[in-house]
Assembly symmetry: none
Homo-oligomer: 281 residues x 2
DNA sequence: GAAATGCATTGCATAATACGCAAATAGGAG
DNA sequence: CTCCTATTTGCGTATTATGCAATGCATTTC
């Protein structure tokens, strides 16, 4: 096969895996480009973004379509991710033991509290719904798998805000703070500045729950708690939501059940096993 | 590159996409194999399942790992799906509106089967038509966008009756059962009592279709199937209808096409996420 | 209405690259 | 320590992916 005859400057292994296959690396980078679009994308746009000739990308896409990872809409249309991509993602998520175990009991939690319940994990877009259990009282909602929540404005978001490492949050947090500042928005319990956010997250970690009342979705109250792994990092957020504000009260049965649920599915880091940095290296 | 020197029996395009790339097709089939396992898998198992030499699979996996689609656990360990796979799936699902996706092909379904076709979703009033494709043979009908169907009396309604959670149906189902009981109505295949309804829905779930012949609308036969999401919950019902009763027969081309259409647009949940039939009732 | 533009798609010749085989290395068990 | 299983890596070959350019299709522009 030919290579671009021009540059061969010596810097060779720029994006190739050791022991991997060049063509496959190239193809997978196209898949990532396809994912990075918000919706269906034209061949020329994908090719430009990937830095490859359209004919090459077209052949990759033909194989992706064959595998079901991509689809082509309408006659002579644009490309989008396909059903197989969705199934792959669901399978990947279901390999996460925390999600699987919590899913098994999520229905019980919803039934016991009489509220709708969801599980969310962090993906690079933000907190993302991976499991949803509609309660008896909630018929319709704009929330579904793949929905993402804001960090500042939602119970689920605030849990990640409080438990996730600063550097993972940084990009999105800055963005939301800036938007809030320029729009002149502020909330009853939060101002759009770093100090105020710090105070909020401290409170959330102390109480082990975060909540909002009818802010992100009008008329809907939500309360969320964290399921953590052996390092004390958040793996999943569990959120209950409904139309009554009473579920937020410190002593409420709902709140107690939620915290209990989160604790039972968390792994409490053993306190006196030496600190993690010793074991890490 | 070499090919298996032995068999080249002439059966050529067994699994290759037209205009696609052979190596990529092979690699993606490995990805699918990896997904088909319940958890982490050994190289030799993946290779055997994919029908390829381990060295080939190993190189594919190296590229998958490089792209984040796969991970290798521990030292010299087994392979599993990676974070990028989850992100890919979330992206696919969040931009994937079941109604829109199915709408794109509804016309083809109608043309291929020669029947009229519709899509219906659940709104608080009941099954509601959101897309309608009049077939070549059907000129006029009382069905239009926004029409709602009864639960007991229509193919579309019976699909929702069989796949939707009990609590969402409760109100309307009670109402219809009561009306039928007081009016003394009954049907050839259904009595207005809970046990009879239960038997019907079990049959529907088993056969994956529900149908009626000229009952809801005299002289009109209809057959319906469910498009389900990642949790096994119904998102949309697809219904074909026409004046001939033959389309209801188990082996008919129409029925086969319908079930195929529905499964192609459904997301099959992995076994570990708990199965939907447990939660359905 | 006709030309023109912007796409996606597809032959084709070439040599670059992925493949199969087999050797090597690592890990685990007895 | 030794064997055994399973993963990883070199290497030569010809199969196959690639860039280029021509084709086809559709929508737009004048």
């Amino acid at each position: 096969m030919k290579r671009k005859p021009a540059k061969d400057t010596g810097e060779e292994s720029g994006g190739t895996a050791p022991g991997g296959i060049q063509a496959l690396d190239a193809a997978l980078s196209v898949l990532r480009v396809l994912r990075s679009f918000d919706g269906p994308a034209a061949l020329s746009d994908i090719a430009r973004e990937a830095g490859m000739p359209p004919s090459k990308v077209h052949r990759y896409l033909a194989s992706f379509i064959h595998a079901g990872l991509a689809v082509q809409k309408e006659r002579s249309g644009r490309y989008d991710l396909g059903r197989e991509a969705a199934e792959l993602g669901v399978a990947a998520i279901s390999r996460n033991n925390f999600v699987v175990r919590a899913s098994d009991e999520l229905e019980e939690l919803a039934a016991a509290t009489g509220q709708a319940a969801l599980l969310a994990v962090w993906s690079h877009h933000g907190p993302t719904v991976v499991r949803l259990e509609r309660g008896p009282n909630l018929t319709t909602t704009s929330i579904g798998l793949g929905s993402t929540f804001p960090l500042l404005d939602s119970a689920t978001g605030r849990i990640f805000l409080s438990y996730l490492a600063q550097q993972q949050l940084a990009g999105r947090l800055h963005h939301e703070l800036e938007r809030a500042a320029t729009a002149g928005v502020s909330w009853p319990d939060l101002n759009p500045d770093v100090a105020s956010v710090e105070a909020l997250t401290a409170k959330v970690r102390r109480e082990r729950v975060a909540y909002v009342d009818g802010r992100f979705i009008p008329g809907l109250s939500a309360i969320s708690s964290a399921i953590t792994n052996w390092q004390g990092e958040i793996e999943v957020a569990v959120t209950l939501f409904g139309t009554h504000k009473e579920l937020l009260e410190p002593g409420s049965a709902t709140r107690t059940a939620l915290v209990d649920f989160a604790s039972r599915h968390s792994i409490v880091p053993p306190a006196q096993l030496g600190n993690a940095s010793d074991r890490a290296r």
